[in-house]
Assembly symmetry: C2
Homo-oligomer: 350 residues x 2
């Protein structure tokens, strides 16, 4: 009667599982505490309300559900959702029509950044929640080409062209002026030796090589390395694209203005959300945080459904949605999953 594969949770009978599932599905749909009568009708188990009450009482003791007050139905706890997501939910795969709709969002000839923005707004659009996509860390990008341009006396514009056609500008200050030709030579040297490596690899190589070249008294090499090192030093802060935050305002469980405010501040601040998403980069496939599980109190009544996307077989970023804990996981999970795959595909073509 007791079921395996239910690791980490207090053992639940088959019946209790089914009831928990039915309860959560019902609650997700209605948003109101679910009572025994309702459940008796809903679940296919053909049990009387009284029996169900007994089971529910057990579920409450185990911490899967709770009653807002004595004479109300039960609502899921965080642990309840967790269990539901891990073991009980039956994700319904997207219809091929829906996949096509999604696919259409990712134009062939869009720039990488456009693709990410598209992914974010698409996620928010079809889920009616907030969509998020982290930008790839430039450190992971590989460097295709470098250009040094003199701006004024002691200021040089360094242009980094990444292999996925992303371009970054940095302005650096130098001790002495450089002529256009000189800079051209330096850039040539640099491109010969370092292009094709990832930014972080370049950083590493520079540290080693600068010692080396200095020993050989190779002035060009040393100077080129110094300039490049300066440019790469300016840490590029991580960033993310957010879309459809305002959707969250429509969920009444967040009617608390103060809480809503904190949430929106988190969207603006980004830092915390990014470090949350960084955790996901290490995982594979869809990952879900329910409520405070994320470690951020701001996400009180929210869940995060996320999945990493990759370029050249390597995970470079994460996308996902943020919505009320009471979201339709069975629908959102495949959407996030498929979007991540489609984004990965779009980024890797050509």
């Amino acid at each position: 009667m007791f079921v395996g594969g239910f690791v980490g949770y207090p053992a639940l009978s088959e019946r209790a599982q089914q009831l928990l599932k039915a309860l959560i599905e019902r609650y997700i749909q209605s948003g109101e505490p679910v009572g025994s009568r309702t459940l008796s009708r809903d679940s296919r188990l053909d049990l009387s309300p009284a029996t169900i009450r007994n089971v529910m009482s057990d579920l409450e003791d185990l911490g899967f559900v709770k009653a807002p007050h004595t004479s109300a139905g039960r609502i899921p706890t965080v642990q309840g959702y967790r269990c539901f997501i891990d073991c009980l939910v039956t994700v319904k795969p997207l219809e091929s029509r829906e996949v096509l709709d999604l696919q259409r969002q990712f134009h062939k000839d869009a720039s990488p950044l456009e693709l990410l923005e598209r992914a974010s707004s698409t996620l928010s659009g079809i889920t009616k929640m907030a969509g998020l996509v982290t930008l790839p860390r430039p450190e992971r990008n590989s460097l295709k080409h470098v250009e040094f341009l003199p701006l004024t006396e002691n200021r040089i514009l360094v242009i980094l062209v990444m292999n996925d056609s992303e371009i970054q500008n940095r302005v650096i200050h130098t001790d002495r002026p450089f002529s256009r030709d000189e800079l051209q030579r330096l850039a040539n040297y640099f491109n010969q030796h370092y292009s094709g490596m990832s930014l972080s690899a370049v950083k590493g190589a520079l540290v080693r090589d600068m010692e080396e070249t200095r020993r050989h008294a190779d002035q060009i090499m040393t100077t080129a390395c110094e300039i490049a090192a300066k440019a790469l030093d300016s840490e590029a802060e991580a960033d993310m694209v957010v879309a459809g935050q305002t959707n969250l305002m429509t969920y009444l469980e967040m009617a608390d203005l103060d809480r809503l405010r904190q949430l929106f501040e988190a969207f603006n601040e980004k830092r915390h959300l990014i470090s949350l998403f960084d955790q996901v980069m290490r995982a594979q496939g869809v990952q879900i945080f329910v409520g405070e599980e994320s470690g951020y109190q701001v996400l009180g009544d929210c869940s995060v459904v996320s999945a990493p996307y990759s370029v050249d077989g390597q995970v470079v970023g994460v996308l996902g949605v943020i919505g009320p804990t009471r979201m339709e996981y069975q629908r959102v999970i495949p959407i996030v999953d498929v979007t991540a795959r489609l984004l990965t595909a779009a980024l890797n073509q050509d």
Copy 2:
């Protein structure tokens, strides 16, 4: 007894003006309808509540105030605020200490973009409302230097260096591949002829010159112009920096979630707000929109206090704050004014 300089409004007696002023100041401070008794105490006029009731009744007939219901005090109408702002408010100039505090925000060696962001967040910080700063339209910027870099076969990276060290990248597609040397020559030609002009002037000149050079069959010139024209064609959409939107959530007059949502969508969409601010560019000094005066229904219970800022003596952008109509104009007006001046100063130094 009747006062001049009160153009465009139904004539108001000195006393009525003073009462209107007192009423609005009181309402701004308390947020609650103001009754005759309160006003009798507040205003220095030493009038009995009954007398004040008569005046208030007149003010209501003239559309300056209204009563939410029969037995409540009066609150200002949009027209009332307008009159208050145009004729009645006594702005109290900032203390020199406050100016210094503000001044400290604008570091000497910050980039233009950083300055704008600083201005926005400073405005939001001291007013506890939302701060906005429009970015200068690139068209107004003058072009310092152009660089063409080959990316792949038919893609060229065009780098535009503006005179205030702002850098813009554009990737364009061409019919045939160009070699690095060839591009260098084209850029040289272009820089000789066009650098120093404003972007919009360059655009204008290109149209004329392309005809001209074509007639001379000057291949280099024509090609250079064609490439540049392509790059400049990609319209740069106007943009703005917003800070502290979430501050607005604390004003209870916006407790209506749906309205709040529309407002935040406007912040994200930006387009509308920018076109509102565009109007301000043509005006001089602080300009204020009360409620729907702005022409945007979203700004229902909001006012906009704004002022243009300039570079090289020419207005290039606008900054301001958005907050509840019930804001402390006498404080906000000088803050916006001074911030605009300080930003202008910071952008023009060096």
